[in-house]
């Protein structure tokens, strides 16, 4: 039984938590606000919080100058493609590990996780060289492949922990009724696994969207996603805070909203099911 909480206590909790929450969120809020200012207002001292002339011109300038749509499209293709491909490869693997475990299942799972710990920079040149040889440098196909392989261990793990929670008896009953493996996967497992697959999809889309080692090092003009688009603002000319803010807001807004919707599934997904 939860005890009744004194209203004063609740008010204090609320005040403290909201202050800290707003403090943590402030850099994002400030970026969004600055994106609607003029460049002069963006650096004014003392800073203006809300009382400025709201303008959309920065968004126009950024879109016009840098062909934002192409970077956005590259991000969608790369993050979406690598996630979907990864899930297609991981579902059968995770299924068999969850329902037909062998003595080596645990070792395989841990080994997969260990490949995730391999520092990317340790294999930077080989991948770079292979990309040149295969004509994949600065191509979306190449990045889809690399990000898929990079996130595959996480995808397998997430699906494995979701699948483990599906009661095995249901599958045994289906087997008794003469269902084949294929039928089992398509008609029984898949519907029950849809929520797990959906949160795996969402989380890995977010991870791939924000990935900034391979996307910065393996792309140039053609296949560069939003991470590289933003990085191009690191050597600025003249006043640029408002434009940087507009570009940043456009790069993070879609994923921020997706993230808010996915926060419930986030924890079990990110901890490989170890924290629920």
């Amino acid at each position: 039984m939860a005890r009744a909480v004194k209203p004063q206590r609740k008010a204090i909790n609320t005040a403290v938590a909201w202050s800290i929450g707003l403090l943590i969120f402030f850099p994002i809020l400030w970026t969004i606000l600055t994106s609607f200012k003029t460049e002069a207002q963006a650096i004014s001292d003392p800073p203006v919080f809300l009382a400025f002339d709201w303008t959309l011109e920065n968004y126009g300038i950024v879109m016009e100058r840098s062909n934002y749509a192409r970077f956005l499209w590259n991000s969608i293709i790369i993050a979406g493609g690598s996630t979907i491909l990864g899930i297609m490869i991981a579902v059968p693997a995770a299924w068999s590990m969850a329902f037909v475990p062998s003595k080596r299942t645990k070792d395989i799972l841990l080994w997969m996780l260990s490949t995730k710990m391999l520092p990317a920079v340790g294999v930077l040149y080989p991948i770079y060289l292979l990309f040149i040889k295969l004509g994949l440098l600065d191509s979306r196909t190449g990045l889809v492949l690399v990000l898929m392989l990079m996130n595959l261990p996480i995808i397998v793990w997430m699906l494995y922990t979701y699948f483990k929670e599906i009661p095995g008896e249901i599958l045994e009953a289906a087997r008794m009724d003469g269902a084949t493996l294929r039928e089992e996967v398509i008609h029984i497992l898949t519907p029950m696994a849809v929520p797990g697959i959906a949160s795996t999809l969402l989380l890995n889309f977010i991870l791939a969207w924000n990935e900034a080692f391979w996307t910065l090092n393996l792309t140039a003009a053609k296949a560069a996603p939003l991470t590289a688009f933003i990085a191009s603002y690191s050597s600025p000319e003249g006043l640029f805070y408002a434009k940087l803010s507009a570009a940043s807001t456009m790069a993070i807004a879609p994923i921020l909203v997706l993230g808010w919707f996915s926060q419930k599934q986030l924890v079990s997904g990110l901890t490989f099911g170890a924290v629920k």
């Binding site: 850099p27 994002i28 997969m112 294999v123």
Partner: protein, 288 residues
């Protein structure tokens, strides 16, 4: 009971993932090993023959090596301490009854979804810039001289930026763990006269230790590899060159592939030492 048939089917279903990951691991790894024993300068003569362990010796004896190891450990350690300590406190706070809990949660986890290049650039320019940054305005308002954040306190600044990105992750996981804490146990302890501090130390903290371990494990994997945060802020200057960044510079900036590959092998060994230690913990959790 799994039949022989389902076992072989299971093997077939596992094969694509296992083969792909094996290839992803072995092909580049053996290439890195191969290059690490060669003098290989793609832009200045290409493959200049085998040199034995020369690259390995040169990499560790270069003046940049040990500082980069220290930098890496300080950043990873600093971020871990900040995010775990603040994460525990925030999780306890967020678990208290309050109005608008859902909105506060959204505010707190948001930084996790911001791409690294954005958060690094926003912090670098709009907050830490010594002339136009918000911190500079704030310092001037109090009559103090603005700090050159990314050159004078470069490590602190990087740790702060990365901690801001990872605090939401720690908080969210620890909050979930706290919510699974048995209320009755806490209340029983309270009835037996345990003080709040004692309840925290003997019930809450032990309950959280597993979640803390997991937070440390997962964050370490990602923190060892941070790149964009350094790439767009200091570019490795002012003592912020991590091992990852040093190798990146050797390979892509100075195009000394042999030397960089030897560095890569060191990075892999370092990561594996940490991974081995952490794997044991995850392995135990798998049995549970």
């Amino acid at each position: 009971m799994a039949t022989q048939h389902s076992r072989s089917a299971a093997r077939v279903m596992m094969a694509p993932a296992v083969i792909l990951l094996l290839g992803w691991m072995l092909v580049p790894l053996s290439m890195t090993l191969y290059f690490s024993f060669k003098k290989f300068l793609p832009l200045r003569g290409g493959d200049l023959g085998w040199v034995g362990f020369e690259n390995y010796v040169r990499f560790v004896t270069s003046s940049a090596f040990w500082p980069s190891v220290v930098t890496t450990l300080v950043i990873v350690g600093g971020v871990l301490i900040i995010t775990v300590v603040l994460g525990v406190l925030l999780a306890i706070l967020l678990n208290q009854p309050m109005w608008g809990q859902g909105i506060v949660r959204i505010l707190v986890i948001s930084p996790f979804f911001v791409m690294p290049t954005v958060s690094a650039l926003v912090w670098k320019n709009m907050f830490m810039d010594p002339v136009n940054g918000l911190f500079a305005h704030l310092w001037k308002a109090f009559g103090a001289t603005p700090i050159e954040w990314l050159s004078d306190v470069s490590m602190g600044s990087i740790i702060m930026i990365v901690s801001w990105q990872w605090l939401p992750f720690a908080t969210l996981i620890l909050l979930t763990a706290i919510q699974s804490l048995d209320r009755e146990q806490l209340e029983a302890a309270e009835m037996d006269g345990a003080q709040p501090l004692a309840r925290f130390a003997f019930i809450t903290i032990p309950h959280l230790s597993r979640a803390v371990t997991i937070v440390i494990l997962i964050q370490t994997i990602f923190l060892l590899a941070i790149f964009a945060e350094i790439f767009v802020t200091t570019g490795g200057a002012f003592g912020t060159r991590t091992l990852t960044y040093l190798i990146y510079q050797r390979v892509l900036e100075s195009q000394n592939v042999g030397l960089g590959s030897a560095g890569g092998v060191y990075a892999i060994i370092l990561a594996n030492i940490i991974a081995l230690f952490l794997m044991r913990i995850v392995g135990k959790n798998l049995d549970a």
